[in-house]
């Protein structure tokens, strides 16, 4: 090799070495850079993993149920909350279709997934789920899309809350609101809507339905005699027996009041079926009720109204069934009766009277008439008995028996009673300033007043309001009212006596008072029923009864009033036999207050 060639070779090798060096340096620089980038990427990765770990732990342990599926509904992830509620393990569900996990009982999630995929919005609903052991649970679910950087949905996120307990509680509350807590039957509130629905169905199907109104006879006596515990037991037993009779799915049972039950029989072909059912109910409910070795007896009265003949809405059907039931009560109980046109007429008339009576009470259209009473004592005192009268603008005078019955049936009696009590108080006060002779006022009380726990307080308030002397007022209760629930009557009457009122037993001799109870009543007066005064001239038995009653009264320290005195002979006889007070047509009919007052003012004491 020549020197030039040698030099050339050296130059070539030097260039080559130089290139190798340069490329190595470049490679090292690149590697350095890459390794730095790798280190930083690694750090980022560690942080990201820590962050992810925190998030995934939070999701894992969240009390909310979290599921993630791909867009075809195949599960990729579920957290512990889901495995706990469903009983499925992570391995059971990953890769499975969501619908296979018992989450599609109502087909609802399909709609949700479709909507989320179409609109990319969150979709919410409540749904039922079924776990591995077939147990059912309820979820409040929201499905939302998981989108990537290109705004495409890659996954679906399901957030669910277990609302099983909440729903169960809501159901409980709902049931409580719709059911009678004592018997578990439907209550009045739900009956209306059930009946309304049943009517709509019957209307569509052109079928009939019937409403049986059941009232337990003399149930109040069980409550009063044995206490509410026994009363409640009877009611529960009634519900059980009714359930045993009305077993069709289309039968509905409700308790709408104390001892009032309703049976709705839907989809009936004819009335015979209703009659047979009613008869079965009567027979079953009339059987004795045994509790704690007590043998309790009651029986039902049943009224039946049939759709569409007897009414086309719930209110009408219940009202007419009630009217039919009432008819049974009036005619011997322990029977059933269908609603009829006549009952309809009576019911309509009662409706009208009720409506008018409400108006009359509101507008003060009732009147009080006063029938004077002559006291035969040495001190000159008059008495008057306040008697309610209703002179209706178009119907004329309506008999008190008629409208008081309506008031009792339609829940107006207490209001009416209050009016009948307060108005004489005002009258008494008015007379006090102008009368020369003291006037005692006799006022009749109704059973509802005696039974009402607020009555004594109401009377006391009225007394204060009108500033009248209680001792100048005599409150009268009939023998039958006083004996209906003697213990309660005695208690109430004692309270009234404490307020200073005089108390009288009215219509004495017509009921069946026990003398031992009579002795216990805090009364001052006995009023013999006027049937014993009628024909006193000819009826020797009445003469004997009168004499004995007067004697009994005086022996018990009571004053004796004879009402219905119509002749001078009767008046004289009674005076002769030491009767204390006389009242009747012989002296005066019941008249308006002015007339009564002028009668008393002009009364000639020497005339009798």
């Amino acid at each position: 090799m020549s020197e030039s060639e040698h030099l050339k070779k050296i130059a070539f090798l030097e260039r080559r070495v130089q290139r190798e060096k340069t490329s190595r340096t470049a490679a090292e620089a690149i590697l350095e850079e890459k390794s730095k980038a790798l280190y930083e990427a690694n750090l980022d990765l560690i942080n990201a993993i820590a962050k992810l770990k925190k998030l995934s732990t939070a999701v894992e342990q969240s009390p909310m149920i979290v599921l993630i599926s791909d867009i075809f509904g195949y599960v990729e992830y579920v957290n512990d909350a889901f495995t706990q509620i469903s009983g499925y393990s992570m391995e059971d569900v990953v890769g499975k279709e969501l619908i296979s996990l018992g989450l599609n009982i109502d087909e609802i999630p399909f709609d949700g997934v479709r909507e989320v995929m179409e609109k990319k919005t969150t979709w919410k609903a409540d749904l039922r789920g079924r776990g591995q052991q077939e147990q059912e649970y309820q979820l409040s679910i929201s499905i939302s899309p998981i989108v990537n950087d290109h705004d495409s949905i890659t996954h679906l996120l399901y957030n669910c809350e277990d609302i099983t307990t909440q729903r169960a509680n809501e159901q409980k509350i709902y049931d409580l609101a719709l059911h009678d807590s004592l018997t578990g039957l439907y209550n009045r509130y739900s009956l209306d809507s059930i009946l309304q629905q049943a009517i709509s169905s019957a209307q569509r199907a052109e079928t009939k339905l019937s409403v049986l109104f059941i009232d337990m006879d003399r149930f109040k006596q069980i409550n009063d005699t044995h206490g509410h515990k026994f009363g409640d037991m009877v009611l529960k037993e009634v519900a059980i027996r009714l359930n045993a009779i009305c077993r069709r799915k289309s039968d509905y049972l409700a308790r709408i009041g104390g001892d009032e039950f309703i049976v709705v029989l839907t989809d009936i072909q004819n009335e015979t079926f209703c009659g047979l059912t009613a008869q079965a109910i009567i027979e079953s409910l009339s059987l004795p009720y045994y509790f704690e070795e007590q043998d309790l007896r009651s029986s039902p009265s049943v009224g039946i109204a049939v759709y569409p003949n007897d009414g086309v809405n719930a209110t009408e059907l219940i009202k007419n069934a009630d009217a039919a039931m009432y008819h049974v009560k009036q005619n011997g109980r322990r029977k059933y009766s269908f609603f009829t046109k006549e009952l309809n007429k009576i019911a309509e008339e009662k409706d009208y009277l009720e409506q008018e009576l409400r108006l009359a009470l509101e507008n003060d259209l009732l009147e009080l008439y006063y029938q004077p009473q002559i006291y035969l004592s040495e001190t000159r005192v008059f008495g008057v008995e306040a008697l309610v009268r209703w002179n209706h603008a178009s119907l004329g005078f309506i008999s008190p028996e008629k409208f008081i019955t309506v008031a009792e049936e339609r829940g107006l009696i207490y209001q009416l009673g209050a009016w009948v009590l307060e108005t004489p108080f005002a009258q008494q006060k008015a007379w006090l300033t102008i009368a020369t002779t003291p006037i005692k006022m006799a006022i009749n009380l109704s059973a509802k007043q005696i039974e009402n726990p607020n009555f004594v307080k109401d009377v006391s308030n009225a007394l204060i309001k009108h500033k009248v002397e209680a001792s100048m007022i005599e409150l009268e209760v009939t023998e039958s009212i006083a004996m209906k629930n003697p213990e309660q009557s005695i208690a109430t009457l004692k309270e009234l006596r404490k307020l200073g009122f005089e108390l009288a037993i009215d219509d004495f001799g017509t009921g069946y008072s026990s003398l031992s109870y009579l002795k216990m009543l805090p009364i001052q007066t006995l009023k013999l029923d006027k049937t014993f005064i009628d024909n006193l001239e000819e009826d020797q038995d009445n003469v004997k009864i009168c004499k004995a009653s007067i004697s009994l009264s005086h022996d018990l320290g009571l004053s004796f009033v004879a009402e219905g005195v119509e002749t001078l002979w009767q008046a004289s006889f009674l005076k002769e036999h030491k009767c204390d007070v006389l009242q009747g047509y012989y002296f005066s009919r019941p008249v308006p207050s002015e007339e009564a007052f002028s009668y008393m003012q002009s009364y000639d004491w020497s005339a009798f």
């Binding site: 080559r16 130089q18 290139r19 470049a26 490679a27 590697l31």
Partner: protein, 178 residues
């Protein structure tokens, strides 16, 4: 262009011709990089174009033939350096189809700055795969050589016909099974 193409080209020139020829080419081309390539670097593709031109000039072999031969050589080298890519598929057609979807994706992960050619396919005829090559660098010849190398690797009998659409930048290859 990735440095590996340059280092492989240089290695091929040294092997097939001589280290001195390579030195001459590098010296005469006056390359911005000075010819000091590292496989992990990135260089202007024009440097390769210059070197191929100079080699053609020195050896009297047409540049296209040189590029085609280099492509074939590169395919062999890739199968040695990156055997995993070749093992993923069992035949030429599947390998070709995996280029864009798989291999280039992986390359991108390693070298986010890599500017790769694009391929599209028509495989409706099971006996003929139509591949369209598109690249701003215009190395259709290199692609052709690479395909030939791949065919040799899998030992299949496939003929390639080349139908240029737009010079060397957009070319359609028909790979026919024979």
């Amino acid at each position: 262009m990735k440095g590996i193409v340059f280092t492989e080209f240089n290695d091929m020139v040294e092997d097939k011709f001589s280290p001195e020829l390579l030195d001459e080419i590098i010296s005469e081309c006056d390359l911005p990089s000075g010819g000091a390539y590292t496989s992990v670097g990135t260089y202007e593709h024009t440097e390769l174009v210059s070197m191929v031109g100079k080699l053609s000039e020195k050896t009297d072999i047409p540049a296209d033939t040189l590029v085609y031969a280099f492509g074939e050589h590169l395919a062999v080298r890739f199968s040695v350096l990156f055997p995993a890519f070749f093992k993923q598929t069992t035949n030429v057609f599947d390998f070709m189809k995996s280029l864009d979807q798989h291999i280039h994706v992986e390359v991108k992960k390693l070298y986010p700055d890599a500017d790769l050619p694009q391929f599209s396919f028509d495989d409706s005829d099971p006996a003929c795969l139509v591949m369209e090559y598109q690249s701003k660098r215009g190395f259709a010849g290199l692609a052709h050589g690479l395909m030939t190398g791949v065919i040799k690797h899998y030992g299949e009998s496939i003929e390639i016909t080349v139908a240029p659409i737009s010079g060397n930048h957009h070319v359609r290859f028909h790979l026919n099974k024979v």
